[in-house]
């Protein structure tokens, strides 16, 4: 029963997220509203960690599995991908490395700069 309640609690936040997504004219999907609301509820103590812990850990652990049906959709994109293969490969590989490196290095630089200022 504990797991059913945990799952229902998480689903309730998904539903709240869907309502916000339908009501607000912002380009933010239901999942992000739901994530933010659950975080606020945890911080405010409305939801206790033990009330979502196991099921959320399970869902996060199986994350890669959940992308498989979408990934298989590539089988219907043969023509588009054949035409775009070089820019697509560069976008997927080179740009991803560039973004990881930029975001990581900038974060690290600001952290070190703040630490140096405090010492």
């Amino acid at each position: 029963m504990k797991y059913i309640f945990q799952f229902l609690r998480i689903l309730a936040f998904c539903f709240l997220g869907e309502i916000l997504h339908a009501l607000l004219p912002l380009p933010i999907p239901a999942s992000i509203y739901g994530l933010a609301l659950l975080l606020v509820a945890l911080k405010a103590g409305v939801v206790k960690l033990e009330q979502v812990k196991e099921v959320s850990a399970f869902l996060i652990a199986i994350f890669p599995l959940l992308f498989i049906p979408g990934a298989v959709g590539i089988m219907d994109l043969g023509e588009v991908l054949a035409r775009l293969w070089l820019p697509a490969v560069l976008a997927i590989s080179l740009v991803t490395v560039l973004v990881t490196a930029t975001a990581g290095r900038v974060t690290q630089a600001v952290i070190r700069w703040k630490e140096a200022r405090h010492d």
């Binding site: 997220g17 933010i28 992000i32 959940l66 976008a91 740009v95």
Partner: protein, 231 residues
């Protein structure tokens, strides 16, 4: 045989889970990074559907319950964030600067590719949101005149590439701080990259999860501006 299969209700979920389990076993056995369960499972299923001549929409419908869990799983990322709240609060300025820099570089690099390769508008728009979570990226692409199916594919391949390369990229660019690693991985390769960040450590995982949300929202806000700069 094929009809027997597709008339049943469970085959899509069973095939997805089975292929993923097989991929996981292969990764354990070989210990190779590129033997990624998501990548292997996708290839197995592609092969299976081709051999049995099952069209993709039929598989997609039968595997629906798997995709359905994406929403509650994304919402669940609030839990590691809550558990790492101190690290988040302490480094808020650094994290936001890092994510913003990543988003701007991503959009600028795709614009550059669009200019160099003379991409048509629909293709370029489909590539623009390639670093963010599918939930946001596909909406952005559709809204601005892209091809949502192409965006989905590019987003997932970006995630797999990010997942496979995360460790090497962090080493190459000497990113050693746990918070910085998480921000880099989550900003570039969303939830699929985040599953690697979670393996690196709890701080890496939580920061990567946070970056999915912030990078996604920033991209959704900046994409309409970037579209104006397309050739």
């Amino acid at each position: 045989m094929t009809e027997l299969l597709t008339q049943g209700a469970v085959w899509g979920v069973l095939l997805t889970g089975g292929a993923f389990a097989l991929g996981t076993v292969l990764q354990k056995k070989t210990g190779q990074v590129w033997c990624n369960p998501l990548l292997l499972a996708t290839l197995f299923i592609l092969l299976f559907l081709r051999l049995c001549e099952i069209p993709y929409p039929e598989y997609k419908a039968s595997a629906g319950p798997v995709s359905y869990l994406l929403l509650p799983a994304t919402v669940s990322l609030a839990v590691p964030l809550y558990e790492q709240w101190e690290a988040l609060r302490k480094n808020a300025a650094a994290i936001l600067s890092g994510i913003a820099a990543g988003v701007v570089v991503s959009l600028a690099a795709i614009l550059a590719l669009a200019w160099v390769f003379h991409l048509d508008r629909a293709s370029a728009v489909s590539l623009l949101p390639k670093s963010v979570t599918t939930a946001i990226g596909v909406d952005v692409s559709g809204e601005l005149g892209g091809i949502p199916a192409l965006t989905t594919a590019v987003i997932i391949l970006t995630g797999i590439f990010g997942n496979l390369s995360a460790q090497a990229v962090c080493k190459l660019f000497r990113i050693t701080d746990a918070v910085a690693k998480g921000v880099g991985i989550g900003s570039a390769s969303h939830a699929i990259g985040t599953s690697r960040a979670l393996e690196m450590g709890p701080v890496e995982g939580a920061m990567s999860g946070l970056s999915i949300a912030v990078a996604g929202i920033l991209t959704a806000l900046l994409c309409p501006l970037a579209v104006n700069l397309l050739p």
